[in-house]
Amino acid sequence: MKYFRIWWQLALMSLKTQMSNPIASGGYLLGKLFRLVFFIVFLMAIFRHTSQLAGYSLEEAALFFLTFNAIDILAQLFFRGIYGIRSIVRDGDFDYFLIQPTHLIWRVCFNTVDFLDVGTLIPVAGAIVYLFKRIPGLCTLHSAFLYSVFLMNGLLIAFAMHLAVAALAVWTQEMDNTIWIYRDLITLGRFPPSIYDRPLRLAMTYFIPIAVMVSFPAQAALGKLSWHALGVAILMSGLSLIASLSFWTFATQRYTSVSS
């Protein structure tokens, strides 16, 4: 409850900041919505000339794209604070976080909450529900359950990746752009993974688990994942979490204060 109250306070502060810049915020929100619409138009345009993309129909390909968006938006909504980690460290705010009676990871992650992402999450969630109803055989409790489980698993991997980026910033006091490498890489998950060749697919599953994060939920719901994949998903999220938590501990133990 205490943590929810802190989150709420930080979220309100972020909202007030965004509301004080209505033109800029409006532009960003509209931009995010346009990007979403444009990619849907792109997919629809492709399917005017073909009936399938690597074995998937228009609705199924759209489900991959929207799932990528859902994970990306949720990660930005919940872990937005990581984007500013370098300035938190550089400006001395990290020292201040260290003495606060809250969990350090929680404090860093929720330092900023981007409410513009709520504006984009609503249409994405609505479109996913619509696709579940539209794709034959998908509107079942079983599919919805599998989709939700893999979505949560994807969010865990996203959290692990964000935490690793934060740890790198605390450790080196640099790496301003690392989070953007992650953002760019996950865009590979916008399309069904079967469009990529085998070495890249394997790298996307076992090396940097983008496919596990953004493609597995849609594949699971569509019944295209084996039980073996469920094991891989749990293993990859578990390993990612353990590795990034260890790295975070390593980095914070070596932190000696930068600016204060």
Binding site: I23, G31, F34, N177, R190
Partner: protein
Amino acid sequence: MKTLRKYGFVFSLYWQEGLAQRASFVMERFRALVVMTSLYYLWSALLRNQTSFAGYSRPQILTYVFGMSLLRSIVFASRTDEIAMEINQGRLSGYLLKPVYYFVYTFSRDLAEKSTNFISSIIEISGLYLIFHVVLAWPRSWQTWVLFILAVTLAMFMNYLLNFMVGCWGFWTSESSGPRFLLALIMEFTAGAFFPLDILPLHIQHILQWFPSPYLVFFPLNILLEKADMHQIINGFTAQIIWIIGLSLMARLVWVRGSANYGAEGA
């Protein structure tokens, strides 16, 4: 000659600055590489079991993918976002006091950004060309190359004018970053910087041709692929010239009105 040397020096300074900020430069190029790789795989998958897609053969569509990556680096790479910042922070005053035309100064700065991105883009494309053993649709005549280079040059200038004007929004608001983000997205998508515009339904294509964006990427690449006939080429160049004249007049008006409104806050 002296004037040219002055702006050549600005170009050289920003070229060095661009290379000095290696992390940002590498990041930007990494992003371009990811986009190009994912689109390469997407189009390859679409052409896996067929010889052509929406009138494009495999070599043609892959030439489009590589070509649009190259054009993004020339046409869209820009430092005009700094214009709004310089206005808002009052740094514009410094330029107004110097013996330089701000418009030409920022154009030289933009050219430096474009040239570093262009060289990097050539290296990336060559790398992917060798890795994937891509067969490209090279133009059959040298005249095509001349027309392509001309269309790209005009596209580059068109986009610069548009960005300069948008940068000048800084005269009226300190919140121009959001609208600029929105406009950049709209321009990129409607320019054909992600896919050839002729895969869209005809009515959307007809609407788009009244906007400047299709003449930034789609039109030059249509020339390169030798898909545009003489009538379309003449129409395209006419549209580019009309847009350049129109945007120049608008940019001039925005600059005059804006600088009259300038208060040098923060200077």
